[in-house]
């Protein structure tokens, strides 16, 4: 399992109710069900990924996260996870408010845009950065947003959403290994993982 997902999994209390937005084939949900006996649901827009997750025996809704999250009652979940999907979200403010409406806690992970390699690439080549975490050209990227870790913190402040926990990681996109970055995370981390609490 991806390292950022391992970190997220380590934050989840056993036996809790979990909603995974953009769950792909459900590897996090399956892991949490096996290891922590959680009651989980996923939402996934891709038919193939959703179908494979359901065929694993997971509860997954094939559909768009904006539409699907609306149907859940308030506080239906303990955790609502959005891992490596925020870059593709049209309206992050609405989505994060929705996450914290249906869930007690929200967990968000994303690639840190201002990692030093990206900065070097921009500075020395003058071109839009491409990396293992953001492996697209400007014209074919599904990612409509670039998210530096410090900007995400400012965004949470703007929303009035407290950051309950935060970890900066150095790991590649699909790697199972990685390490926690404490020194200048906005410069040295490839990923940020945040746990968000209820807005004050």
């Amino acid at each position: 399992m991806r390292y950022d997902l391992q970190v997220i999994a380590s934050w989840i209390e056993p036996g809790s109710r979990v909603l995974d937005l953009g769950c792909r084939t459900g590897s996090l949900l399956a892991h949490l069900a096996d290891e922590k006996a959680i009651v989980g649901t996923g939402i996934e827009i891709d038919e193939d990924a959703a179908g494979r997750a359901i065929a694993k025996g997971l509860s997954v809704i094939h559909g768009d996260i904006y539409e699907e999250i609306e149907d859940y009652p308030d506080n239906a979940f303990d955790y609502v996870i959005l891992s490596q999907a925020l870059m593709q979200v049209l309206d992050p403010e609405t989505l994060i408010r929705e996450m914290l409406r249906v869930g007690r806690l929200g967990i968000v992970s994303f690639p840190n845009f201002t990692h030093y390699k990206n900065r070097f690439q921009m500075f020395f080549t003058g071109r839009a950065p491409m990396s293992k975490e953001l492996p697209y050209e400007w014209y074919n990227t599904p990612n409509i947003r670039v998210i530096p870790i410090i900007d995400f913190r400012r965004f949470c402040k703007h929303l009035g959403v407290p950051i309950v926990k935060e970890l900066a990681l150095s790991t590649h996109h699909h790697d199972e290994q990685g390490k926690v970055i404490t020194f200048l995370p906005n410069l040295f981390a490839t990923f940020g993982v945040f746990m968000l609490g209820q807005a004050r």
Partner: protein, 395 residues
């Protein structure tokens, strides 16, 4: 709905099966939703697999509009046609008869062995015809429950079905919430759209406009074959899609190179519909068709159980759901499945949903489809684990 789709047997067959009959309500007739009473009631049914000692591995399969109890296997060694869902039901198949005990019965109102308009009215000794009481999906399910009771089965592991069979699945899950662990409604709806009712009405009018229909009293004078064939043609169109018809027929001509300039079946699609209509007449009863389409039109889960609210209706349910729709199904389009999923979610029910990309229209649930097979197999496995059913040990 078009169970006549000739199934290709894949994998191992369940082998020989036998149509059986269960009769109840001789002393105490079934009270129908219409207020009328029906009794005695006979259900034709078939089973495959073995019921385990705790009677916890039973799956009820509900057939669609004009289907029957013959879900899988063959009636004899030289029977060329296996049951209508042989693709899905059998040893090692998604509904695995090595693990599960499968029951499929013909609905009341049908003409494949269960009590319906062709049955003799005990009061007159003659076929009921149009004096048969109008039955509902709820009535069909209440009759099925009596059959399930007769096996001593308290809770069904799953109820599975597509189209009108899916309506029965939904009805089971809401009417008898504590008797169903899991429900799998496929390509179905909680209520017919005006469009679906409209097509059914055209089909019914075709039958009733046939002079041979004779207000339903035709069993001695000759059947309204032409009306029934036209009704089937209308229905058949709704089971396909623009794309599948274009792919199968386009505007190709049938057995000719030029247009006839008369009312012969010039086009392949005309010839095909005529063939399907005529084939249907051989196996189906016109009055049954009227009753079954009416039952489907009357089905309205939210009105019946939720006073108009689907969320309220599903508040009665407690089972796990797997809802499946198909992209090209315009009879029961995906939005209808999404509506039921939405209501299930609002009730905190455990639900999975997948819209399968398939070009073949409403019929897709009856055709070979790896995605559907995988979904069913995986979902049922999970239910099995959840219920801690030692299906292998106990058989």
């Amino acid at each position: 709905m078009s169970e006549y789709v000739d199934q290709i047997e894949t994998g191992e067959s369940v082998g020989l099966v036998e149509k059986r009959f269960f009769t109840f309500g001789g002393d105490e007739p079934l009270e129908l939703e219409s207020g009328r009473r029906l009794g005695p009631v006979t259900l034709a049914y078939e089973t495959c697999g073995t019921l385990n000692a705790d009677k916890t591995n039973a799956i009820l399969v509900c057939h669609a509009l004009t289907g029957d109890s013959h879900v899988a296997g063959v009636y004899s060694g030289n029977d060329p046609k296996p049951g209508w869902w042989s693709l899905m039901v059998g040893p090692g198949k998604p509904i695995d008869t090595d693990k599960y005990f499968v029951i499929c019965s013909n609905v009341i109102g049908g003409c494949m062995g269960s009590t319906g308009p062709t049955s003799a009215d005990p009061a007159t000794g003659r076929p009921y015809g149009a004096s048969f009481p109008v039955v509902t999906i709820g009535d069909m399910v209440r009759a099925q429950r009596r059959l399930v009771d007769s096996f001593g089965i308290d809770t069904l592991l799953a109820v599975v079905g597509g189209s009108v069979g899916g309506m029965q699945v939904l009805e089971w899950s809401v009417r008898y919430p504590h008797r169903v662990h899991a429900a799998i409604p496929l390509a179905t709806t909680t209520k017919h759209s005006a469009q679906a009712i409209a097509f059914n009405e055209v089909a019914r009018q075709a039958i009733m406009a046939d002079p041979k229909w004779n207000r339903g009293d035709y069993y001695e004078t000759g059947r309204p074959e032409h009306g029934l064939a036209v009704a089937r043609m209308v229905g058949h169109i709704t089971y396909l899609s623009d794309e599948s018809m274009r792919h199968k027929f386009d505007r190709r001509l049938q057995d000719r190179v030029e247009l006839s300039f008369d009312f012969e079946a010039d086009f392949q699609v005309e010839s095909y519909l005529r063939y399907q209509g005529n084939k249907f007449v051989d196996r189906f009863d016109a009055n049954s068709f009227l009753y079954l389409t009416k039952a489907a039109d009357y089905f309205n889960l939210e009105n019946h159980y939720g006073d108009g609210s689907l969320v309220a209706a599903f508040s009665r349910a407690s089972c796990r759901y797997l809802v499946v729709s198909f992209t090209s199904d315009w009879l029961y389009p995906t939005y209808q499945s999404k509506n039921m999923v939405k209501a299930m979610k609002k009730n905190g029910l455990d639900v999975s949903f997948c819209e399968i990309e398939a070009p073949w229209g409403h019929d897709a649930f009856l055709l070979p489809n790896k995605r559907l097979s995988d979904l069913l197999a995986g979902f049922l496995n999970k239910i099995c684990l959840h219920c801690r059913i030692g299906v292998h040990d106990e058989i």
